[in-house]
């Protein structure tokens, strides 16, 4: 079977089938990692660096030696003996980094673990950790990604020799020609995308047992990409992947951050081996903010935008400086992933982006909902609005003029990505209709001259889904990765039960439900009659190296794996039924739990009868059939990709492009700088929706993350590298009372590449950040500096109102040709 696949007769697919997962979660019977444990387990607690950058002089654990109930300690020096440094994705110089599972010799961010203690109870582990005496010699930290690249900056990793972990130029078309030809060139000094995290309510957790008898490592955790984690730590632990059994059931939110849960798993496995007993660790909120992982912070410098007199934007020239924090966790993959959406929603053809990534004394960055694309899309949307403001174009019209048009699909971008389908102008119209755009323009006028200004903003984004992992070769041509895929098993069990096992690790995306919907359609039963086994178990479920739940792809990779497995099972069932009923295979249909002859419902065999033929009655069958048919069917969906060309940085990097057009209305209080969202609308186009209600839930969630990030959430470090908001007291994740109502609508542009017409979705493209910045600028007008930061708390907006931006002047300059 080759991709693409589809559900031929959708009865359940496409419906708002209520989720199968809900009952256990609503009644307190979910099984999250902290709800689980192992016999004889101890509780682990980490000792963490209070400094952002320091040499570890000594670690003294002697006070714990005879302490009742304390089982074991582990420090960096021991980890160095027991394991090897982690595999690095980066080529040199970043790839020269020597990163052990725990800090050795030196700490590089506040909260970095330096020791761990195992004790009988949570409280005792914590008390004991306090008694470990660590001496540090503080070093000067560097917390700013631009300063980190200065020649005199303190170096984080001596073996890397520089704080620049990766750099490369992405050049397409002819930007110099475009800048020379353009009627106007708009120059923006500096834009800054801030650091935040989607902060899942459930923090990290691991229960791990390194069983000495079998030399196997059982891991219960909430890792959202466990096989990537296994690939990262197995070489470090000097064992094979087959020694692991990663499991998880319910996961309390992930948003990308829980990809980062591998280093801790590795060190806790070592602790378990040393202690000779299972280890349970539940991260605290404070620890999660310090160490769990943050989204990427990024600077855009010397931005130049060539614009024609009619408002056509030809391209972008810019320097991007990404801030990876202290180690490269999943990075520097973000240094190519942004280019999946190089021109964003627009038909720009000329680019030169000089991209570099800095190491700084801050928590490592990791994928966070909208990973690496939203930073770039934010820059593009800022460009669109700044161009519109400076040159007097209408922000709606300039978007419509430059959007990829409905007739252009499939649209190949300058770097070889293929946008599959969409209707951006229609999506924008729908978003503006939802907020009643003309009404707010009138109210905006009425509010002029008052202290409560109104602004309307638009965010246009793409959510690129189903990565071609070959793009990693653009970062490091030695990497042996390309393509993508997901695995599923569909099985008819002994008494005719239908069960499905997925390679995925959902964190609320409803995979048990949507998988059941498509299997029900294929096998002619109801979703209730399909058991989708909750959770992932490496020893039970099938998987590929890409397995997991991340990067907006389940509707394509996961669902197509399920369809493929169910179709294989159906083919086997039909073959058996034809044999049993004396009919030809094309006469057989599956319906109501039976295989039956079309038009002759009396000639039927129930699923249990088919199961009986294979499992418990095989002497009745020809041996060839009994050996070939298993009723236990595995399928791996493989999307159609070629490896990209690393020299040209060119190729199809993702299979599908869902779009999100958001519209925001804000009120800015000019006396305080406070921004309030008065109205908000999101229009999503992810092609054919398998379960519209679940899709809409994802749209709400992505919108909420962006709105909160734009106005309330920043992981804020001071100049010493101290995180100022390592809990929910100071990190202002919004409650219902602080979140506006989000209106939604949709457009359905089926993807021609996925069989079902569905596109991956869920991450969104950070559209609220773009829409809210756009709305704030719209409210402030053109006399003040440009909105140059993605985070706009009252104090920053207040400063903008009083003429203080990120740089000198208004931060923007327009050079126009004579006569233009």
């Amino acid at each position: 079977m080759t991709a693409p696949t589809r559900v031929e007769t959708p009865r359940w697919t496409g419906q708002n089938y209520p989720r199968k997962e809900d009952r256990r979660l609503l009644t307190g019977q979910g099984r999250y990692v902290d709800d689980r444990g192992m016999i004889r387990q101890g509780y682990a607690h980490f000792v963490r660096s209070p400094y952002a950058h320091a040499r570890i002089v000594s670690i003294d654990t002697s006070k714990l030696e005879n302490m009742t109930g304390v089982y074991c300690t582990l420090v960096g020096e021991e980890v160095k003996e027991m394991s090897d440094p982690l595999f690095q994705i980066a080529p040199p110089p970043g790839g020269n980094m020597v990163e052990y599972l725990m800090a050795v010799d030196k700490v590089r961010y506040q909260g970095e673990p330096v020791a761990v203690v195992l004790a009988e109870t949570r409280e005792l582990a914590r008390d004991a950790a306090d008694l470990i005496d660590v001496r540090y010699e503080p070093l000067p930290p560097v917390v700013d990604a631009i300063a980190a690249q200065e020649p005199d900056a303190p170096i984080l990793h001596d073996e890397v020799g520089t704080n620049v972990s990766w750099q490369g130029t992405y050049e397409y078309g002819d930007i110099d020609w475009a800048l020379a030809e353009a009627d106007h060139v708009v120059k923006i000094d500096k834009l800054h995308f801030h650091r935040f995290s989607s902060t899942p309510i459930e923090c990290f957790g691991v229960v791990v047992n390194w069983d000495r008898g079998t030399d196997t490592i059982e891991v219960i955790s909430n890792n959202q990409m466990p096989m990537f984690g296994a690939m990262m730590i197995a070489p470090s632990l000097r064992i094979g992947i087959d020694r692991f059994e990663f499991t998880s059931q319910d996961i309390g939110g992930g948003f990308g951050i829980k990809i980062n849960l591998y280093k801790q798993t590795g060190v806790l496995a070592l602790l378990s081996r040393k202690a000779g007993r299972p280890v349970k660790w539940t991260e605290t909120r404070t620890e999660h903010h310090l160490d769990g992982g943050h989204g990427n912070e990024r600077w855009f410098l010397d931005v130049e935008v060539p614009v024609m007199a009619d408002g056509t934007i030809l391209g972008v020239k810019a320097r991007a400086i990404d801030d990876a924090g202290a180690y490269l966790h999943y990075e520097p993959l973000g240094a190519v992933i942004w280019s999946q959406v190089l021109p964003g929603c627009y038909k720009m053809r000329h680019f030169r982006i000089d991209y570099s990534q800095s190491l700084t004394n801050k928590c490592p960055t990791v994928p966070n909902r909208g990973y690496s694309r939203m930073q770039h899309l934010w820059m593009l949307e800022r460009i669109i609005d700044i161009v519109a403001h400076e040159l007097g174009f209408d922000p709606v019209e300039i978007r419509k003029r430059n959007y990829v048009q409905p007739d252009d699909y499939p649209y190949e971008t300058p770097n070889g990505c293929v946008y599959d389908s969409g209707n951006l102008p229609l999506s924008l119209d729908k978003a503006l209709e939802l907020i009643d755009y003309p009404k707010w323009r009138e109210r905006q006028k009425a509010a002029e001259g008052t202290t409560k200004r109104i602004g309307i903003g638009i965010g246009s984004t793409l959510d690129s889904g189903t990565n071609n992992f070959g793009q990693s070769r653009i970062i490091n041509r030695e990497l042996p990765f390309s393509g993508n895929g997901e695995a599923a098993i569909c099985k008819l069990d002994l008494y005719g039960e239908v069960s499905v096992a997925l390679g995925t690790t959902p964190q609320g995306q409803g995979h048990e439900t949507t998988a059941a919907q498509v299997v029900a359609d294929i096998l002619g039963i109801s979703p209730e009659e399909v058991t989708v086994i909750p959770g992932f178990d490496q020893a039970r479920n099938s998987y590929v190296g890409f397995s997991g739940t991340y990067a907006s792809q389940f509707a394509v990779t996961g669902i197509n794996a399920v369809i493929g497995a169910a179709e294989k099972l159906k083919a086997e069932m039909v073959e058996l039924a034809a044999m049993a009923l004396g009919a030809s295979e094309d006469e057989i249909e599956l319906a109501e739990g039976h295989a039956r002859v079309v038009g002759d419902p009396e000639r039927a065999i129930p699923f249990i009868g088919l199961a009986n033929m294979i499992y418990t009655n095989n002497a009745e069958l020809p041996t060839e059939v009994a050996e070939r048919i298993s009723l236990n069917c595995r399928h791996v969906y493989v999307p159609p990709f070629d490896p990209p060309d690393p020299d040209r940085k060119y190729g199809n990097l993702t299979l599908t492009y869902a779009s999100q057009i958001h519209a925001a209305v804000v009120e800015v209080d000019t006396e305080t700088g406070k921004v309030e969202v008065l109205d908000y609308a999101a229009v999503d186009d992810c092609g054919v929706r398998i379960n519209p209600q679940i899709v809409e839930g994802q749209v709400h969630g992505a919108a909420a993350h962006g709105i909160a990030a734009a106005l309330r959430e920043e992981m804020r470090y001071d100049e010493d590298g101290q995180l100022l908001n390592a809990n929910f007291l100071y990190y202002h994740a919004p409650s219902a009372a602080e979140m506006p109502h989000i209106k939604t609508d949709y457009v359905e542009s089926p993807s021609p590449f996925t069989g079902t017409g569905a596109k991956g979705m869920g991450e969104g493209g950070g559209a609220p950040l773009h829409a809210i910045c756009s709305a704030i600028q719209d409210a402030l007008g053109s006399d003040v500096p440009v909105v140059a930061d993605s985070f706009n708390p009252p104090e920053r907006v207040y400063r903008l109102l009083h003429g203080e931006g990120l740089g000198a002047g208004r931060g923007v300059e327009v050079v126009s040709k004579e006569g233009s």
């Binding site: 979660l25 902290d34 309510i201």
Partner: protein, 161 residues
Amino acid sequence: MDRSDTFDIEFTLNGETVVATVPARRLLIHFLRDDLDLTGPKIGCDTGHCGACTVLYDGRTIKSCMMLAVQADGATIETVEALASDGEMTPVQEAFHEHHALQCGYCTAGMVMSATYLLEKNPSPTPDEIREGLRGNLCRCTGYVNIVEAVAAAAGKETSE
């Protein structure tokens, strides 16, 4: 008082009497989860902000991470485990299911307890009152849209947001 001191307590949990000896320092949420093996109430923060641990204490919602286990002495405590009787979910739980008001489910038990309490005190809240009533519970998946809708539906009316 020493950190190893223990206290004897007796209280009613989900209709049953619990008699236990607890360390003075043990948080109520840890006692409920680690010692009594409940899985409904969750832990999501260190500061009493997330509300995942919300339970009813003598009929009022409290955050069980902000109390010590010894403070349960003499009280009546109800957790989400007490809501569904004979497998029948309450109207609030049913509405959450029908309106897709939960995704990962981690905040859900606390959210449902707060919603249940809110509707007890105010049987027909406005959308703003619902949002205010759930102020103590953080959800990072839903943007609260469907939660507000579900609570309004459970109260027997549509939202007009």
